[in-house]
Symmetry: C2
Subunit: 395 residues, 2 copies
């Protein structure tokens, strides 16, 4: 298998897309799959499609495909909802596994919604749980026997810094804590062995490196030997052992399917299923190797061409994911100027320009071309024209 | 405006679809809208589409359209997630408004997932809350000053029996309880004045009478004067006052947007937005009038033609929604025989055949034709051939 596989994607002419860490590009088959689901399945089969088109099983089928990309066994991954909701499910289940402990340990670099969901759950429970968020490098030291659950995002959304999954999971377990990994910036980006890590839970989203499209469903992994011990707080009918028995009492499914909640988003799941076919025959070790080659090249080129930019990502390959961030006091304006010229990355406060590297559709020539544009913007002060435009709501 | 408006929908040849109360039919514009979102917005604009294609505002825009169909003011309805999750949000917020009370009152006819979500929330909180489920006709009597929240589905998914929204809401408020209405079988089916009811919360789904497609997003209404008092337990970043400030601390949005959670399902929301255009110029009073004419006709025809079927739906028009259920000891097999002949309704245990009436795409001739097929199946015992087929997972 050769990388990149640009022929599998629709990439606009004139665009170098270094934002696959935010929203992946469009796989070529997605539109046809959506049309099929809408016209043939929904339109033609109507309610019967829940059986005849396999809609009922789709969350599990898609979950199995994701499992294969994160080092998880079949049947251990459920899909649906948003990542925020999946974070809540994992946290809720984890706290119930450690009823004598009150601390949720995360870090200050976690993506805000993970912290917000923890805060919301703490308020809902109302028993004085505490969320602690030390700096990322201080997490291991902060793991004590007060900690019920350690919840971390594996790759930092701002800097690309990657936690040591195995070491932190071991430290959590040594202290008797449950481990939750958020793989938002890892799934499809780095080689993962979530089962090997022994972590109890992992969650992630599919619209970044997995190219599932805007608002694509999230996923949750539960370590298979623990599923009986997981008490779903979001106890929806699709997670029931027999949804169509219409029992008045909740009985969770015997498998990871208990992490399903409501009626699955069939249209988005179908497009995601199609998007995942681009991974057929792809070795995640080859992706990781190409990703590091691309990001190393980017770092070297930017540092040679743009000395005023400060690398905010760890230089050590094993300590970073598949994105590179550079700081600039006018990073927002510089990024706008880049986007205006077809080089699409994004910006995160206070001053970080983020560039994601997706070896399925980015190659060395793209990297070099992008750095040439960046160099030109900085040398000519072209970013000043973009400086005073309104702040984009999403970048 | 004339009813029906069959020209706005794709309905398969040879099908009389009396299951719009489960999954609405395909509006003609849906496939083109999906193609546009996928190819032009996602494929062409990529991450920029969050602003340039209006993705960020889509949950609110769609919520406003739904608001107009349920008698709610603009800005009072948020969309996204599944109905199960929206039930949880409403229950969680309601319990926080009545911290001194421990009872959630529902009824034995509520859709199971509503009861399950209550059970799950009770387990997560872990403070001894109780779910009570009297028979539907005994709900008002069961409202006491122990009750924190009354949570009911307005129209019963099995029988079509409709609760008196105003009377029950008044009774709940008289006892100091918070009122939550589940409008799953009401929105787009009956005329609603949710604001006039003074209920604190309403939730609903959009894949039934609103034709949003399989897994279309749910909605939640919050009475506008109460929004400041709503503390979201599912405190996702999209409900934050400033999602892209990336604050470590959660601050809810000042509006109903605080009921948003994670990244919205743009593809499903866009198709739903398109689906809702079929309601342009439609008067819900006219829909209700046509719905009752169709269901009255159906009841009369079935009772004349099929005396062995027992009406399970209230005969009194003001006491039912837009579906009619008949009981038969072999209802499952009879329904299979109907479906085999192109008359699509569905079955709910233990013995109910459900038929939904959707005046946008069903007319009197459809009703009469459907009852002719039903009569023939019963007179010829044609259902016996379907009796021993496997039980469908979804009907």
């Amino acid at each position: 298998m050769q990388l990149p596989r640009k022929d599998l994607f629709e990439i606009p002419d004139g665009v170098i897309y270094l934002d696959g860490n935010s929203l992946g590009v469009l796989p070529k088959g997605a539109a046809a799959r959506a049309a099929q689901v809408i016209e043939e399945e929904w339109g033609g089969q109507l309610i019967r499609a829940w059986n005849s088109a396999g809609w009922m099983d789709l969350p599990r089928v898609v979950g199995d495909r994701i499992a294969s990309l994160i080092g998880a066994p079949k049947g251990s991954v459920a899909t649906g909802d948003t990542l925020s909701v999946k974070v809540y499910q994992a946290l809720d289940a984890a706290l119930k596994m450690r009823p004598d402990r009150k601390v949720i340990l995360s870090d200050s670099g976690n993506f805000p919604t993970d912290l917000y969901m923890a805060q919301g759950l703490i308020e809902t429970i109302g028993k004085g749980h505490i969320l602690r968020t030390p700096e990322p490098e201080d997490v291991v030291e902060a793991i004590s026997d007060e900690v019920a659950v350690v919840m971390l995002t594996h790759v930092d959304y701002r800097t690309g810094r990657m936690h040591d999954m195995d070491a932190i999971t071991r430290a959590a377990h040594a202290a008797g804590a449950v481990m939750i990994w958020d793989l938002a910036h890892s799934a499809g980006a780095v080689a993962l062995d979530i089962a090997g890590s022994q972590a109890e839970f992992a969650v992630g989203c599919t619209y970044k490196y997995l190219n599932g499209g805007p608002g694509a469903p999230a996923f949750i992994y539960v370590r298979p030997d623990l599923i009986d011990a997981v008490a779903p707080g979001l106890a929806g009918w699709m997670g029931h052992a027999a949804p169509f028995a219409m029992d008045p009492g909740y009985r969770p499914a015997l498998t990871t399917e208990r992490m399903r909640i409501g009626t699955p988003p069939i249209l988005q799941l179908s497009v995601l299923q199609e998007a995942l076919t681009v991974w057929d025959g792809v070795d995640m070790a080859a992706i990781r190797s190409a990703s590091l080659r691309l990001s190393d090249l980017f770092i070297a080129e930017v540092e040679a061409r743009c000395p005023e930019l400060i690398l905010a990502t760890p230089r050590e390959p094993s300590a970073r994911g598949s994105q590179v961030s550079f700081a600039h006091p006018n990073g927002y304006a510089v990024m706008q100027a880049l986007i205006d010229r077809g080089v699409i990355g994004d910006f995160r406060p206070p001053n970080l320009m983020r560039f994601g590297f997706t070896p399925l559709y980015i190659d060395d020539a793209d990297v070099i071309a992008a750095t040439e544009v960046l160099q030109n913007i900085l040398e000519t002060d072209a970013w000043k024209a973009a400086k005073y435009r309104r702040v984009s709501k999403v970048t």
